[in-house]
Amino acid sequence: MRVELDNLSKAWDEVVGADHITLDIADGELVAFLGPSGCGKTTTLLMVAGIYKPTGGTISFDGYVVNEVAPKDRGIGMVFQSYALYPHMSVFGNISYPLRLQKLDKGDIKRKVQTVADMMGIGDLLDRRIAQLSGGQQQRVALGRALVKEPQLLLFDEPLSNLDARLRLTMRGEIKRLQEGLGITSIYVTHDQVEAMTMADRIAVMSNGVLQAYDVPATLYDRPKTLFVAGFVGNPPMNFFDVEIMRVNGDFRAKSEAIDLVLPHDRGEKAASADGKVIMGVRPEDVDLADDASPPAEGVTLIGQVEVVEPLGREDLVGVGINGADMRVLVDKSRGVSVGDTITLVFNTSRIQFFDPETEQSLLWA
């Protein structure tokens, strides 16, 4: 099912939950709504579900405006963060509830519930009470209940937040596989950008009720259109510096008290369009340690002191102080960096981002 949101807004007396959200979701696509808590992603989802009434704009399913359609008539299934299972019913009671409300034939209900339960790997738990299930099993029941009525649209509201890290990883893959296999259009609300990046075909990044960006994960990562997107997408987060763009001997240079880097011509030219002062963004993995074997080119290195080393397993996340400016970089563990070391950082300047400090829009990808 195709879903279109057109200037969708929701405001309570003074609080704005969603502010003119416009986006379209193609048939069979999984779209993630990503943002910090309180950014309006769940509000938007609940409007799509029909639980909240929009205060402005329209929601259309396959071209039909469904603003006034009751939740039960929208052909949707929803999975909640709290699972929202009915604790006074058995697993079978929970999964069969939507079908019982449709007054289907008893044999049909039994067959459908069994099919869905088998698909979710809980076929042998149908007689259990909800309280007897583990978190992962409860999540599967919730998913089964959403799927059993064969919805046109699946809505997920942070479905994995209550699971432990390991299980989250398994369920992530399982949900994605299920969704792709069944080809059901899905909206997936999450504050976990790894979840969004790995599962979604497209990600809608939201903050303060405003849609910040809506694109495929790779583009959001490589070409963030706003400062917020750059800072929110990616883990560990991007480093930001206030710099001035100057033209020295034909080269564009990003300069501040701590920083002096020569920029590639194309990026430098775009960055220079905003009257000098800009915000420079550098991802932690776009910086390397200088290697004696191959000395770096002039103007792409800075010298700093190691202040913190956080081992992440495969890599170390190293906090470096550069003349008073702090940044975090990912360093291969084999380099054996330790606190107090003086290190030479080599910047991959062709991946540096620039933002207008006033509008917070990207100067590169406007």
Partner: protein, 303 residues
């Protein structure tokens, strides 16, 4: 190392902590036992008095003034019709209250907890303020209302002045503010997600209430029912005011009639009737003890 060195001075100061703790516990028990003695003495008197000719303190006394004189004569009332009619009336009032207050509070509490409507806030503060009014202040006004209700053809015979139905109706009304607030609190504690899930699953709002939400507040309904039953069973002021004679008297009113007669009061009979009134409640408590503990501990084990 430093911790082991620091430990000895603490022990040297007095008895070992465990011994001290034991003594403290003994004190606590002694205090508790002392403070419940008056209550225990009261109950002991109640029981002893019902099987005695006369009592002096806790001692049963016979006609000659010596110790003894046990008798079952005080319990003769159980063979008379009046007590059973009073008991039936008490039961009717209590059951009617449990049903009326239960249904109205569960429905009203849900609406106030979950729905937006004009006057919701005024209603909430209104019920709270009304609850502050003692029933005594309303007696005269209620009398006129009951007289009016009694004039309604047919149903007036059941809910008017001097009827058990009328008394029950008034009692329900007086109990509702508390009931509604209590149930609202229980509904407030439920997550919205379950309700939303049910709406999406295809349930109507009424069905969501009845099939999904009400089962979650069963402990609350149980607590309210119990509380209401006790209030109804022990109701005195309203039945006393709005009933005349023995036909519609409930247990407390019947008890009062024993005392207010002009003849000298037979306190041993009064004690026996009082104990008799307590028996159903005691049995009730014995059987629901575990459930009650669950409810008051705030657990949802009851579901």
């Amino acid at each position: 190392m430093t911790t082991t060195e620091a430990a000895p001075p603490r022990h040297a100061a007095g008895p070992l902590p465990r011994a001290r703790e034991k003594m403290g516990r003994r004190f606590a028990y002694a205090f508790l036992i002392l403070s419940i003695i008056p209550i225990l003495v009261g109950y002991a008197w109640l029981v002893i008095a019902t099987v005695s000719f006369r009592t002096q303190g806790l001692l049963p006394i016979n006609a000659e003034g010596g110790i003894g004189g046990f008798t079952l004569a005080n319990w003769d009332f159980v063979f008379e019709g009046a007590i059973w009619s009073a008991m039936l009336n008490s039961l009717l009032i209590a059951v009617f209250m449990v049903i009326g207050v239960g249904i109205a509070s569960t429905a009203g509490g849900y609406a106030l907890s979950r729905m937006k409507f004009t006057g919701r806030k005024a209603f909430l503060t209104g019920t709270l303020v009304l609850h502050a009014f003692k029933a005594e202040m309303l007696l005269i006004a209620i009398f006129f209302v009951l007289r009016f209700l009694g004039d309604i053809p047919i149903i007036g015979d059941y809910i008017g002045f001097n009827t058990v139905g009328g008394v029950a109706l008034v009692m329900v009304a007086l109990e509702l503010p508390l009931g509604i607030w209590l149930m609202k609190g229980f509904f407030d504690n439920l997550s919205w997600d379950m309700e939303r899930a049910a709406l999406i699953d295809g349930a109507s709002r009424f069905r969501v209430w009845w099939q999904i939400m009400v089962p979650q507040v069963r402990p609350g309904i149980a607590a309210l029912s119990l509380f209401t039953f006790i209030v109804g069973w022990n109701a005195y002021l309203v039945p006393f005011t709005f009933t005349i004679g023995t036909k519609v008297a409930n247990m407390p009113v019947f008890l009062n009639q024993l005392i207010s007669d002009t003849a000298p009061v037979n306190w041993n009979l009064v004690a026996a009737v009082g104990l008799f009134q307590m028996i159903p409640l005691i049995i009730f408590f014995i059987f629901t003890q575990e459930l009650l503990l669950n409810i008051y501990a705030g657990g949802s084990k009851g579901t």
